[in-house]
Amino acid sequence: MRVSLGSVARFMGTRLLSSAIVLFGVVVVVFALIQLVPGDPVRLALGTRFDQEAYDALRAASGLDRPLVEQFFSYLGGVLTGDLGVSFRNGQPVVEILLSRLPATVSLAIPGLLIALLIAVPAGIWSALHEGKVSDGIVRVASQAGVSIPDFWLGLLLISLFAVRLGWLPSSGYVPIATDPAQWLRQVVLPATTVGIVAGAIMTRYIRAAVLEVAHAGFVRTAVSKGLAPGRVTFAHIVRNALVPVLTITGIQLATILGGVIVVEVVFAWPGLGRLVYDAVAARDYPVIQGAVLLIAMIFLAVNLVVDALYALVDPRIRLA
């Protein structure tokens, strides 16, 4: 099949425009966050550490003493130039803090997603191809259980078994992969398994549904009635055509995991974006909360755009619709 790059570009142009509109809305929501705080956010953030000098300095730095419209355009300008203000807690630039936390989140998200795919692709395809059989029933119940399990509880159960009881793996902590790959691997196993089991359960259900939908399509019936070998029908027709929805759910899950698996990072003391948001909420460090929320929403939109682009390349119906 020849892909017309023009139609892909047109499709992506439309998608980029609508993402830009959504992104603008996201900036408005993130800006509004600090405005909605009842009372004085700087005073709240300082709490018992209040002293007039620190208060005046932070208030001036945050720009909260200026008129609302001016504050908004200044925030918008900051977003465009990569200046998200400074932390109420330690005065460090928010962008610096966010960038320092991103590698930990990425180094948890990728193994987590790999584990999820390792579970979901075989289980989802197997379950769909054995629809109504006992093995399908087992996969369906197991995936439903995986969707219903609280991830922080699953994490604690894994710690309790593999760290406390058996002593095979560390219960928490993080070393960058570049510093000590072996230690990173030992520390990433439990949090990545926790993330992978929950995401894998969700993806199994999607993949099963996607494969089933294709398996019931007319062209598959034609392929079967033509006398094609069952293996060829399964892989060349069913699985290949089910890849598009699988790509979508993988993209959504990657974006969601990158967006900070907050409780898992808290349980395993993993210093990623999720843990950062948690600490910032507890300390009422509003500029950091705003920055993290903005970055996570941007990651989400960016991953969705990439998925859409791949989608358009793979499936002509999407870009021509």
Binding site: V37, P150, L157, I159, S160, V164, I252, Y278
Partner: protein, 297 residues
């Protein structure tokens, strides 16, 4: 064909739907389990053998026994009593939050889908913006604005699930809008409010019922996560998430402190999910996608 018969809704299949639902043993079992959980939560003040905050330091960290079915915690409080007393709080938050999302999101979706045009375009952009935030992150941001506690938890979870209901209701309202019985009603000059009430609402109730059940499962999980993080139900009020947070410090010493509250969350969420699944199979086979995709985080 008379105008009367044209504006009549399609023959109801409600009776056969319920029969179909009752023929699925997993759904029936889940409904029974849910019934028991709700009854337990309602009767908890009478069923609990001890008070939620009845401290007995001499009795701390006792394993499950005849006196303390689920054992005791680090302050000697009875875990069984705390688990069943926390059920009421969790369920109240889940029902209130999902009720809020159903009313607000459902309302937005129906108006958006039925009227279309610029109203629809604006409302759906707002929904798109809300979808750009992962669920728990948005809830945390809302908690950061207000003080943590039960009302904030309800608002946070309610707001987070509002766009999901808006999308489901909009999709259903859109398809009902183009159906012949609605179009004939419109041609006959029936006011929009009465078309919405008499035709649109009953016909989109299936997808909304399914969404409500699935959302209750995820609301239970979200509340537990917020309470685990110390940003939901505040101690000393018992909450499943809060109990698991305390249990973290005693993993090697008292496994029962984490197991029972976690099992309570798991069983409740699973039951709501399975009931939702059963309802979906009967009422709306193509749904489920949005909420489940957004489960992690």
């Amino acid at each position: 064909m008379s105008a009367e018969s044209l504006t009549a809704e399609p023959a109801t299949t409600r009776f056969s739907s319920w029969r179909l639902l009752a023929s699925n043993p997993v759904t029936v079992a889940s409904i029974v389990v849910l019934g028991l959980i709700i009854a337990g939560a309602l009767l908890a003040p009478w069923l609990a053998p001890y008070g939620a905050n009845e401290i007995n330091v001499a009795n701390q960290l006792q394993p499950p026994s005849v006196e303390h079915w689920f054992g005791t915690d680090d302050l000697g409080r009875d875990i069984f009593s705390r688990v069943i007393l926390a059920a009421g709080t969790s369920l109240t938050i889940a029902f209130a939050a999902v009720g809020f999302a159903l009313l607000v999101g459902g309302g937005i979706g129906i108006v958006s889908g039925y009227f279309g045009g610029p109203t629809d375009a604006v409302l759906m952009r707002v929904v798109d913006i809300m979808f750009a935030f992962p669920v728990l992150l948005l809830a945390l941001a809302i908690v950061a604005i207000f003080q943590p506690g039960i009302p904030t938890t309800i608002i946070a979870i309610g707001v987070v699930y509002t766009p999901i209901f808006a999308r489901v209701a909009r999709g259903s309202a859109l398809s009902v809008r183009t159906s012949p019985f609605v179009q004939v009603s419109q041609t006959m000059g029936t006011p929009a409010v009465s078309i919405l009430g008499r035709h649109v609402l009953p016909n989109i109730s299936g997808p909304l019922i399914v969404q409500t059940s699935l959302s209750l499962a995820f609301a239970i999980l979200s509340e537990a996560a917020l309470s685990f993080l110390g940003l939901g139900v505040q101690p000393p009020d018992p909450s499943w998430g809060g109990m698991i947070f305390t249990a973290q410090g005693f993993l090697g010493l008292a496994w029962w402190m984490a197991i029972f509250p976690g099992a309570a969350i798991f069983v409740t969420a699973l039951a709501f999910n399975l009931v939702g699944d059963g309802l979906r199979d009967v009422l709306d086979p193509r749904q489920r996608t949005i909420i489940e995709a957004r489960r992690t985080a």
